[in-house]
C-alpha cells in the first residue's frame, strides 16, 4: 500500500511538471495582438489595411512574433548580392521599441504607421532613432560609421566603382559636415531635423514611399 501511494505521488508530480512545461511553452510561443479597433486608433491605417498587413505578417510568422534571426533572414532576401544582416539588426532595434528581443505585430504596425503615414517630423524622428544606436540622444561618428558600413555591406562586393575601405568613412564625413552645425562631433536631434528640413533632396525622398500599402 505504501508502494502504491509512492507510485501515485511520483506519477502525479511528473504529470504536473509536464503540464506546467506545456503551459510555459504555450505562452512563450503564441502571441495575439490587441484588437483591431485599438490598433486602428493607435495607428493611421484603416481597418482593411490592418487586415492585409496582419495576414501577411501572420503568414510569415505563425507564432505572432518575429525574433531577430527571422527578421534578418527575411530582410536579407531582398538584397541577394550583399550582406543585409547588420542593417537588419539596426532595423530590428528600431522596430523593437520595448526592447524585449522580439517584434510583435503591434510594434511592426506602429513602425510602419510612422514610416508610411507619419508627418515628416515623425519620420525624421524615426530615422534619428535608427541611427542613434545606443539611444542616448546623440549620433556620434562611430555610430554613423556603423550604420553606413552596414548600408554599404548590403551592396555586396560587385559594385561599380569598386568599394574602397575609406568610402564609408568619407560618407560619414560628408554627413557630419552637413548635419553637425556646431562642430561638436555629435549630431543632436534638433540639428538633424533642422538640417534635413532644409535639404530639398531629403524632403522629396521622404515622400517617396507614401503609397506603399
Amino acid at each position: 500500500m505504501l508502494r502504491s501511494t509512492l507510485v501515485a505521488v511520483v506519477t502525479l508530480t511528473l504529470y504536473l511538471l509536464d503540464s506546467v512545461e506545456d503551459e510555459l511553452e504555450l505562452s512563450a510561443v503564441r502571441h495575439r495582438p490587441e484588437g483591431l479597433e485599438q490598433l486602428e486608433a493607435q495607428t493611421r491605417f484603416s481597418r482593411k489595411e490592418l487586415q492585409i498587413l496582419y495576414r501577411g505578417f501572420k503568414n510569415e510568422c505563425p507564432s505572432g512574433v518575429v525574433n531577430e534571426d527571422t527578421f534578418k533572414e527575411i530582410y536579407s532576401q531582398f538584397f541577394p548580392q550583399g550582406d543585409a544582416s547588420t542593417y537588419a539588426h539596426f532595423l530590428f532595434n528600431a522596430f523593437d521599441t520595448d526592447h524585449n528581443g522580439s517584434v510583435s505585430f503591434e510594434d511592426f504596425v506602429m513602425g510602419l504607421s510612422i514610416l508610411l503615414r507619419g508627418t515628416v517630423q515623425e519620420k525624421l524622428n524615426w530615422a534619428f532613432n535608427l541611427y542613434d544606436i545606443n539611444k542616448d540622444g546623440y549620433i556620434t561618428k562611430e555610430e554613423m560609421l556603423d550604420i553606413i558600413k552596414s548600408i554599404y555591406d548590403m551592396m555586396g562586393k560587385c559594385t561599380y566603382p569598386i568599394l574602397k575601405e575609406e568610402t564609408p568613412r568619407q560618407h560619414v564625413e560628408i554627413f557630419f559636415q552637413k548635419m553637425d552645425k556646431n562642430r561638436d562631433g555629435v549630431v543632436t536631434i534638433d540639428e538633424f531635423i533642422d538640417c534635413c528640413q532644409n535639404d530639398e533632396n531629403i524632403m522629396r525622398s521622404m515622400q517617396l514611399f507614401e503609397n506603399v500599402i
Partner: protein, 637 residues
C-alpha cells in the same frame, strides 16, 4: 516559418526611409501601383471542387500559370470563376505552394500524374521542398528505370537491321536472345568448369608406380592433361577474340575487368609453349601456372551474385581498409609485447618481433594452432588479453560489411548512387540559377537602360512602357535596389565587370573614383554619363592588346555570375523573388548574353566584327551546368 516574403516587400520599402538622410543623391521615382484595386477573392473551380484564395496570393509567382495572365484563358464568364479540368487532389498541393511557398509531394500520388500537373501549372519540380524532395526523386528514378527496362525489352525483340557485329555483341551480353547465344553460353561455362577441375585433379597423386613415391596425375598422364588444357585454351582464345571483334568499343573492352581476367587465364599456356624446357626458367614457368586458377573468375560472367559480391567488396573498401588497419595496429602492439615478455624464457619460439606476428594473428583470429605458445607467466597473461581483444577487433567491422552487402544486394544501388549525385548537383545548380535570377534580373533591367527612366526627372511614358515587361512586385523590388544604389552612390554590377574594373584601375592607374561627390546639380549628369562610359571602356580595352584577355573574359562571363552569389541554402530563399525570375532568368540569360556580346564588338574593330551571331538564347537549357559550351561559343569572337 513560411517563406513567401512578398508580403514583406512593403515593409522593406518603408524601412528604406532610413537611408534617405544619408543619401547624397536624389532618389528614383517609385513605380506606381496603377490598378490599385482592393485585394479580392478569386474562385478556382477544379473539376467541381471550389478553391478560393486571394488574388495577391497567386500573384506571388508570376511565371506560373495561375500567377500570370494565362489563367484568363480558363475564366468562365457565366459563373465568374476559373475552371480547370484537372485533378483536384493534386491541385491542393499546388495551391498550398502559393500559400506557403513550399511545394510538397504527397506520397500516395502517382509520380507521372504529379509531374503532369506540375507541368500544366508551370511549376518546376526542383522547387519541391527538402522534406519531400528525396521521395520525389526516388520515385522518379524508379519510374524512369522501369520505362527504360521496358524500352530495352522491346528493343531486344526487334531490330532486324543490325550488323553482324552488333548481333554478336548482343548475343554475348544477353544469352537469352537467341538459341545460339544460349548454346555458346553453356558451352563456355562447361569448359571453364572442365579447365578448373583439370587444374585441380592434376595435382592429385594417383596410384603409385614401382618408384617409391606417389606422383601426381599430371605427371603420370601428361599428354592427356596437355590435350585437355589445349582444348580449353583454344575455346577461351576463340571466345576472347570473338568478343574483341564484336565489342562496340574495343579499347574500352580491353580495359574492362572481365577481359583482363580472360587474358590472364590463357596467357600461361602460351608462355609455356614459347618457353623451352630450360631448367632456369621452368621454376618461373611453374609459378605462372598458378594464374590458371584465374579461370574460375570467368564464372562471374555467368553469375549475377558473384558480380554483386565483387562490387560490394569494392564499395566497402573503406570498411575493409579500417578492418585491416586496426588489425595491423593490434598485431604490431601485441607482437611487440609478446616478444619482450617471452624474451627471458629459454628456447622460446618468439625469436623476433616479426616471428611473433604469426602468433598474434593466429591468436587474434582465434585459430590457435599451438605451434607457438608462451611459456612465461607474463607471456600467458598478455596472450590471453590478445585473444580476447582479437575477438573484438574482428567482430566490429564485419557486421558493417555484412550489412553493406545485404543492403547493396537488395537495393542494387550501383549506378543509382552515381546518378543521384549527378542529380543533386544539377538540382543545386538550378536552385542557384533561380536564386541568382533575382540579382541578375535587376542587373539585366539596368543594362537595358530601363532604370534610367526612373530618375526623378524622368518621363512617365517610358515608365508605362517598361511596366509591361516586369511585374509590379519585381519593379518595386528593383526600385528598392535602385534606391540603395543611389544612397551609396555605387552601382550593382556583375562579377566580370567588377573584375574588369578592378584590373583596369590597377593597370591603368586610374585615379580612384572617390564616391565622396558633393551633392551638386551635376551629379545625375555624371551618373548617367558614367554609365555610358562604362560601356565605352571595353572599347578602349580592345585597342590595347594586353587587355584582350579581359575582353574575352567579359564576353565569356555572365552566366557564371550566378555561381558567385553567396548561396543561401535555406529553402525559404526560393521565394517569389527568385522564383518569379526563375524562368525569366532563362530568357534573361539568353537575352543577357546577346546584350553582353553587343558591348565588346565595336563597329570599328573589323577583326571582331560579329559574323558570329550571338549564340541563340537557349531558354530551356540552364546555362549553369554547361558553362563550358557557352564560353566556347562566345569567345569564338
Amino acid at each position: 516559418m513560411a517563406a513567401g516574403v512578398a508580403a514583406w516587400l512593403p515593409f522593406a520599402r518603408a524601412a528604406a526611409i532610413g537611408w534617405m538622410p544619408v543619401a547624397n543623391l536624389p532618389m528614383p521615382v517609385a513605380p506606381t501601383n496603377k490598378n490599385k484595386h482592393q485585394d479580392e477573392l478569386i474562385i478556382l473551380n477544379v473539376s467541381g471542387r471550389r478553391f478560393q484564395t486571394w488574388r495577391n496570393t497567386l500573384d506571388r509567382y508570376p511565371d506560373t500559370l495561375l500567377g500570370s495572365s494565362e489563367k484568363e484563358f480558363f475564366f468562365n464568364e457565366e459563373t465568374r470563376e476559373y475552371f480547370f479540368d484537372r485533378d483536384p487532389d493534386v491541385f491542393r498541393s499546388i495551391l498550398n505552394f502559393y500559400r506557403t511557398g513550399k511545394l510538397h509531394y504527397p506520397r500516395y500520388e502517382c509520380i507521372s500524374a504529379y509531374d503532369e500537373e506540375l507541368a500544366f501549372f508551370g511549376i518546376i519540380p526542383e522547387i519541391i521542398s527538402d522534406c519531400c524532395y528525396e521521395e520525389y526523386k526516388d520515385r522518379k528514378r524508379e519510374n524512369t528505370e522501369r520505362l527504360m527496362d521496358d524500352l530495352e525489352d522491346n528493343k531486344d525483340s526487334k531490330l532486324p537491321n543490325m550488323t553482324f557485329r552488333e548481333t554478336m555483341w548482343r548475343a554475348f551480353e544477353n544469352p537469352h536472345t537467341s538459341t545460339m547465344a544460349l548454346v555458346f553460353y553453356y558451352v563456355t561455362g562447361f569448359f571453364i568448369a572442365i579447365s578448373v577441375i583439370t587444374n585441380v585433379v592434376e595435382t592429385v597423386p594417383c596410384g603409385s608406380t614401382p618408384n617409391q613415391r606417389d606422383i601426381p596425375c599430371g605427371e603420370r598422364y601428361t599428354e592427356a592433361f596437355f590435350c585437355m588444357d589445349t582444348a580449353c585454351v583454344m575455346i577461351f582464345t576463340v571466345e576472347y577474340l570473338m568478343r574483341l571483334f564484336a565489342a562496340p568499343s574495343r579499347y574500352r573492352f580491353m580495359r574492362s575487368v572481365m577481359s583482363i581476367i580472360d587474358v590472364v587465364a590463357i596467357l600461361p599456356y602460351y608462355i609455356g609453349l614459347v618457353m623451352t624446357n630450360n631448367e632456369d626458367v621452368s621454376g618461373a614457368f611453374v609459378t605462372l601456372r598458378v594464374f590458371r586458377v584465374f579461370r574460375i573468375f570467368k564464372f562471374s560472367r555467368h553469375s549475377q551474385g558473384l558480380r554483386i559480391l565483387g562490387y560490394t567488396l569494392k564499395s566497402c573498401a573503406s570498411e575493409l581498409g579500417f578492418l585491416l588497419f586496426s588489425l595491423t595496429m593490434a598485431i604490431i602492439i601485441f607482437a611487440t609485447v609478446m616478444f619482450y615478455a617471452e624474451k627471458g624464457s629459454s628456447s622460446s619460439k618468439f625469436t623476433s618481433i616479426p616471428a611473433s606476428f604469426w602468433y598474434t594473428i593466429v591468436t587474434m583470429t582465434t585459430l590457435g594452432y599451438g605451434d607457438m605458445v608462451p611459456k612465461t607467466i607474463a607471456g600467458k597473461i598478455f596472450g590471453s588479453i590478445c585473444s580476447l581483444s582479437g575477438v573484438l577487433v574482428i567482430a566490429l567491422p564485419v557486421p558493417v560489411i555484412v550489412s553493406n552487402f545485404s543492403r547493396i544486394y537488395h537495393q542494387n544501388q550501383r549506378a543509382d548512387k552515381r546518378r543521384a549525385q549527378k542529380v543533386q548537383k544539377a538540382r543545386l545548380a538550378r536552385m542557384r540559377i533561380s536564386k541568382s535570377g533575382s540579382s541578375t534580373a535587376f542587373l539585366h533591367s539596368k543594362r537595358n537602360g530601363l532604370n534610367q527612366s526612373l530618375e526623378l526627372t524622368g518621363s512617365l511614358e517610358e515608365d508605362q512602357q517598361m511596366k509591361k515587361t516586369t511585374s509590379l512586385l519585381e519593379s518595386q523590388h528593383h526600385h528598392l535596389l535602385h534606391c540603395l544604389e543611389k544612397t551609396t552612390n555605387h552601382e550593382f554590377v556583375d562579377e566580370r565587370l567588377y573584375e574588369q574594373g578592378y584590373l583596369q584601375t590597377a593597370l591603368q592607374n586610374f585615379p580612384s573614383r572617390s564616391p565622396s561627390l558633393s551633392s551638386e546639380e551635376g551629379i545625375t549628369g555624371t551618373c548617367c554619363s558614367r554609365r555610358t562610359k562604362k560601356n565605352m571602356q571595353p572599347l578602349s580595352a580592345t585597342h590595347t592588346h594586353s587587355h584582350t584577355h579581359n575582353l574575352q573574359e567579359l564576353s565569356a562571363l555572365h552566366i557564371q555570375c550566378g555561381e558567385q552569389q553567396p548561396l543561401n541554402t535555406s529553402r525559404s530563399s526560393l521565394n517569389l523573388m527568385s522564383d518569379e525570375s526563375g524562368s525569366l532568368n532563362c530568357k534573361s540569360s539568353g537575352l543577357v548574353t546577346t546584350a553582353i556580346i553587343s558591348i565588346p564588338t565595336p563597329p570599328s574593330n573589323n577583326s571582331r566584327a560579329s559574323p558570329d551571331a550571338p549564340p541563340p538564347p537557349n531558354p530551356d537549357a540552364p546555362p549553369l551546368p554547361n558553362p563550358g559550351t557557352d564560353v566556347v561559343k562566345i569567345s569564338a569572337l
